[in-house]
Amino acid sequence: MGDLKLPAIDYGALAPMLILFGVACLGVLVEALVPRKSRHAIQLTLSFLAIIASFVTVIIEHGTRKITIGGAVAVDGPTLFLQGAILALGAVSLMLIGERSMEKGGAFVSQAAITVGSQKDLRQAGEQPGATEVYPLTLFALGGMLLFVSANDLLTMFVALEVFSLPLYLLCALARRRRLLSQEAALKYFLLGSYASAFFLFGAALIYGFAGGISFGAVHDAVANPQRSEVLLYAGLALVAIGLLFKAALAPFHVWTPDVYQGAPTPITALMAACTKVAAFGALLRVLYVSFEGVRWDFQPVLGVIAVLTMLVGAVLAVTQTDMKRLLAYSSVANAGYLLVGVLALNEEGLSSTMFYLVAYGFSVLAAFGIVTLVRDADGEATHLSRWAGLGRKSPLFAGTFTFILLAFAGIPLTSGFTAKFAVFGAAVEGGQTWLVIFGVISSMLLAFPYLRVVVLLWLSEPGESTPTVSIPGFMTAAALTIGVLATFALGVVPAPLIDLTRDAAQFVR
């Protein structure tokens, strides 16, 4: 056996991920060594610094187009754009995660293992500060997402999938209030997520059998020039797609979404709705555009049906919801459908418009969940819709903000929701997928109804006895809300800079 030759590693291109993983490990050490009192401040500062540093390296690397570390990681336009998006959205999520002024000790439980409902549990819910492990967990999750969108072979992608999923499973279980719901959510997410991972891995194995390699470039070549049975290819593609569709919450793999979104601590829900969506669609884009472009005529109709199903299921079920977080969950399912419409355009427009949509939607959904954290009573957040009646009278500013976000979700012009929808629908018509646009328009009509119902509830209903108050947001939540709303407005009125950025970035390396 000759010398084992190490592959060339471009540390600059990997730096965004390395920084996050490194600081996350540092955070674990902080948990072990630093006294409990000062952990929160240190962890929060470290996490912010890590995200900022990582974001800066992404900007520095903005012109990089290469495949590095032995073909495992591809750093190209979409990678860097999506990594930047994940980091920006992650920073805003972190503001919500780190907020401690509205509830004593923050939104997270201090010791998740205590039996729910015991005296000890009640005591800890009332006073003890939340676990600070959430910060390293968040960093690991974000780091995994960065790797997920840059993975250049199926195995790296699988590893990244696990790296970002496991911290999320844990984070879901850490809600301070409604502990049982939170634990149930985490367990559901974990079990279903494991199945999805297993599907993905099995699919990867079949594709390896078909292509004789796992890198996307190799798969692409094999698809163009098949040497083995195409049954392997289609079965493998289907299984890999199921794994990704699960993470992206597309019907019929969306059933976990409402339960998990409802049970998870709201800042984590925001993180999942914004960042996980970016990561999942980033990976889906790469797999479909880079590897399987050659069989587009085979998967386009199938995924098209899934997109239609997702849009309709999300819209119809959103109508029937009575809980704000579940409503937003179904709305995010429907939005995943619109995103898939953009993906299925399968042209450069499709790539750039999907990336634009991800950013636009991410900021809006962060602001939406940010407001959900504010509406609370003595038992924590009041998420039942009936409790929101007449909120416009009590706090017009926040009701107005939420109305604006809902109008963005409904796709009313002058909000990012409209420009984003316009972009993906335009790309889809361009790509010959007019039928998807028709269904998209129909589901938008359905989806407008639940949003409008909330607007009516906020402004036109009389406040009831049980209408909760809107807490004065702490500095970080206020900042997160401001960023979310401003981004929603700016991307609706002057979307040109970001559109240009996505267009410049819309080229994968193979």
């Binding site: 009278r393 796709g411 018509v429 361009e430 009516v456 040109a496 559109i499």
Partner: protein, 514 residues
């Protein structure tokens, strides 16, 4: 003077006004009202200057302005007005101050509702209305088309009468559904029309769109406009919205906003999809004629004054519809003139009805009866508004209705004859309404209401006077308006590719149409 950027300033001005009025604290309601009124008058003055600067024998589109917006989609802030848009802009500019003055006390004596917000919403609505008529970029047009729902939604939902929530939601959803159909068509047009939204450039490239696509795109636009107008069978939101909205806002809703539908058909559907327009014309004509008769019959049976006026409007929109789809210059000119006159007449009718409703505290016809004995002058104004609405000769709507009917008769005799029945029904619903409210024996309950003893006030006189004057003036001398409309309509008809039949094609001012 014609280089002055009239349209962009006209569009932005009310928005600034809305912001200024909106931030005034609630207790300074009078200040907010005064600013709103003065602001809308400034807009009116500016539009009068624009009217003067408009050259009748000049280009089809004047006051062209264009600013970059989203270069990668080629969406621009492009404004331009033809004669049709110009008269609509003038109508908004006239109606808004009138409505602001008419709504002066609408929000008084109510601790829950904020007067500055109400007047800010009215100005914001004016902003979207001006924008929608001034836009010459389809993307920009679509933006205004959707955004205009929001101020009206809150006006109806927060300041309306009974069942306002239901009406506001129904209004919003109906319009949004139409808007989304249009969105699909706009995207389709953008893709097949050469990746541009510019109206004049699209006019040149639409010839290459294949017939089938063109028909689908027409349908997308048409459904949106038919819901907005509204044409039968998409009309059911209007009586609810018009019935629940405050009277002044209802005047704007029916008088101006609904015209966006008919304006959109004339500006976008016909020139961009000429073949499809001709292909769909029989269906559109049938819908319009059904609308005339059906809505008139429903209006006869209404017991609610505001709903009744809403139904009369649906019937009138039927007339506008047949005038447009007759594809004759007379019909088209008549329709555009009808849009203006209907805005004035129905606006007046809504405002006067609002004055009655404000006094009585109810909008039910059966709660009135013999009101003319208590408020003779106001009853007289209602009678005049009613007569104008049924197109009595001497009032402006007569000319437009007449033009529409002869314009239609030259090509579609049957439709014109059936539509004429609508005139008889119009007389029935208006006169019967006037009779039941103001004539006959005095309803004893009416005497119990102290407000009913107070006849028309000075403020109310100032409100109705300009509308009455305009209705009479345009009734006897419509030439200033028809001169502006005619070239634009002729250009539109040329785009559609129809020629007026034979020697009967003489327009109102005696010129022989091409």
């Amino acid at each position: 003077m014609s280089d002055f950027p009239f349209l962009s300033i006209l569009t932005v001005l009310p928005l600034v006004g809305a912001v200024v009025v909106g931030v005034i604290p609630r207790r300074k309601a009078e200040l907010a009202k005064t600013i709103a009124l003065v602001w809308s008058l400034v807009v009116l003055v500016l539009s009068i200057f624009m009217w003067v600067a408009f050259k009748i024998d000049g280009d089809r589109f004047q006051f062209h302005e264009s600013y970059q917006w989203i270069p990668s989609w080629d969406a621009r802030f492009t404004f331009a007005a033809d004669g049709i848009a110009l008269v609509m802009l003038m109508l908004i500019a006239v109606l808004t101050p009138v409505v602001i003055l008419a709504s002066w006390h609408d929000v008084d004596g109510d601790g829950k509702r904020s007067a500055p917000v109400y007047f800010a919403l009215l100005l914001a609505f004016e902003f979207t209305m001006i924008g929608v008529f001034a836009a010459a970029d389809i993307f920009l047009f679509y933006v205004f088309f959707e955004v205009m729902l929001i101020p009206m939604y809150f006006i109806i939902g927060s300041f309306g009468g009974a069942r306002r929530q239901y009406a506001a939601v129904k209004f919003f959803l109906y319009s949004l559904v139409g808007g989304l159909f249009m969105l699909a068509a706009v995207i389709g047009l953008w893709v097949v029309g050469g990746h541009t939204f510019d109206f004049t450039r699209l006019l040149q490239s639409v010839g290459e769109i294949d017939q089938n696509t063109s028909r689908w795109l027409f349908l997308g636009f048409f459904v949106a406009f038919a819901i907005k107008a509204p044409f039968f069978p998409f009309h059911t939101w209007l009586p609810d919205a018009g019935g629940a909205a405050p009277a002044g806002a209802a005047a704007l809703l029916v008088g101006v906003m609904d015209k966006v539908g008919t304006f959109g058909i004339l500006r976008y559907c016909l020139p961009l999809f000429p073949e499809a327009s001709r292909w769909f014309a029989p269906a559109a004509l049938v819908l319009a004629v059904i609308g005339i008769i059906y809505a008139a019959l429903l209006a006869v049976g209404q017991n609610d004054l505001k709903r009744l006026v809403s139904y009369t409007s649906i019937a009138h929109f039927g007339f506008i519809g047949i005038g447009i789809f007759a594809f004759t210059t007379q019909g088209g000119t008549g329709s555009v003139l009808y849009m203006v006159n209907h805005g004035l007449a129905t606006g007046l009718l809504f405002i006067v009805v609002g004055m009655f409703v404000a006094r009585r505290g109810s909008s039910l016809v059966s709660d009135f009866g013999g009101a003319g004995k208590l408020v003779p002058v106001l009853a007289g104004v209602l009678f005049f508004a009613g007569l104008a609405s049924l197109a009595l000769p001497g009032t402006a709507p007569f000319i437009s209705e007449f033009l529409v009917l002869i314009g239609t008769f030259t090509v579609h005799k049957v439709y014109a004859v059936i539509a004429t029945v609508g005139i008889i029904l119009a007389a029935a619903y208006v006169l019967w309404m006037v009779q039941r409210t103001t004539q006959g024996t005095l309803n004893p309950a009416l005497e119990e209401v102290p407000a009913m003893r107070k006849d028309i006030t000075l403020r109310e006189k100032v409100v109705v006077a300009p509308l009455i004057l305009l209705l009479l003036l345009l009734g006897f001398y419509p030439k200033p308006v028809t001169d502006v409309i005619n070239p634009a309509v002729q250009a539109t008809m040329q785009d559609v590719g129809t020629t007026d039949p034979g020697p009967t094609a003489v327009t109102a001012n005696g010129r022989v149409a091409r």
